[in-house]
Symmetry: C2
Subunit: 250 residues, 2 copies
């Protein structure tokens, strides 16, 4: 079996004891494979499960009374999703797979036991949740206060930063398996305006495109102009207590 993505993620922030590693192993249950566009969870429908993204990409969206849609976030391997079902029993958003992906199920109660038995993992999850909330603040700021070019740039930069977490080297181009409609729903623009704005960015030499592939040409400039900060990097875990001797010995 593939290495559990959540374990990898947590390990990246905190050295794990073997007891903690074992606890994580039992956490992820049945796996599910999703095809592009397949939904994992539907807004307003009962739901009491969480999922760990193991492979691929998924997005979380909300549909409005007027039929419009807002994508509130993207989730990658190692992300714990459906956290809104931690607080409620009805899903607050629709989660859809972008491309092919694999997720594993995880019962809420199992998470509760994990909080009790492995407080350091709980604390790390809390830190990750805090970081995600900051990232969402970035998106809110972008949608609320920036123009179309900046919003799209920010989205591209964020995807780039995220890809670099896994793909060691310095990536500067990638396939964007999203329609312009999806992109617009994420940054708060219509698909038509997304098309025009991409055109403008290309004309200005900021990016280049061919098919679904996007190459970021002026990363430095885009970063300066949007004030982009990578939130996918290191997060502080120094405030988390050291493991107890017994656990560490294992």
């Amino acid at each position: 079996m593939r290495r559990d993505a959540l374990t990898t993620r947590l390990e990246q922030h905190l050295p794990l004891t073997s007891s903690e590693r074992r606890a994580l192993e039992t956490l992820a249950q049945r796996e599910r494979r999703l095809k592009p566009g397949e939904t994992l969870m539907i807004q307003d429908q009962p739901n009491d499960q969480l999922f760990i993204v193991q492979q691929g990409w998924v997005h979380s969206a909300r549909t409005l009374v007027n039929g419009a849609r807002q994508i509130v976030g993207f989730h990658y391997a190692g992300d714990l999703i459906g956290t809104s079902s931690i607080a409620w029993t009805i899903a607050t958003n629709t989660v859809t797979s972008v491309g092919d992906s694999i997720v594993s199920e995880l019962a809420k109660a199992a998470l509760g036991r994990m909080f009790e038995q492995e407080p350091r993992l709980a604390a790390t999850l809390y830190a990750i949740a805090a970081a995600d909330s900051v990232a969402m603040g970035d998106r809110l700021t972008s949608v609320g206060r920036m123009g179309a070019v900046e919003r799209l740039s920010l989205m591209l930069l964020d995807i780039l930063a995220r890809l670099r977490v896994t793909a060691g080297g310095i990536v500067d181009s990638f396939d964007l398996p999203l329609t312009q409609q999806d992109i617009g729903d994420a940054v708060g623009l219509t698909k038509v305006h997304v098309s025009r704005t991409f055109g403008e960015m290309e004309r200005r030499g900021l990016i280049a495109r061919s098919g679904r592939r996007v190459r970021v040409l002026q990363e430095r400039e885009l970063t300066a102009m949007t004030g982009f900060i990578d939130r996918h990097g290191v997060i502080a875990t120094d405030w988390i207590p050291a493991p107890h001797a017994t656990a560490e010995a294992a």
Copy 2:
């Protein structure tokens, strides 16, 4: 001394054992009183403290490269703030007091110890964080996909819902101690457009104003038109393990 607001908040979601109550008592340290507009934390400056809002109102904002500002959230009594410093050592937003308020300090390390010793409190904090994240998704959706009237309505309805948590009865009017600039920064509009939009809402009989006081006249209609859902209410804690007998006995 006043009852600790965080204790009250947690108790509202989960019956606490006396051991848990004791742990919370030692958590909140020195108190700070803030005057209107006083800042508690400044974006990009080192920070390794958390705060609990004990009384009043505070907001959390981000300033952009172009000088614009986005208010990413409001925090009320019982909220744990500065959670971004859980993940980083630099503050990601500027926290400013709306009106007079009282907060108490809380060291990150103390939170770490609390996660270890009182896992049920940790789990409840996690659930609250999940709920906050959903609330932020609401704001993102509103700013990304709604018109000016809807955005303002949503903000008013949210404040109303929040006030009702504390003020038992059915409130339908309140003092808004925010300038229209602040309101605009929260919903992604200019202050000029906020003024016009309030004017329009008044003309349409949706609200009435006199001075800083706002009265919501057509709550039903506003709720329907925006799809507002109150996120301040109950959150699920059924997934949190029951306390151990020893702790419960105390």
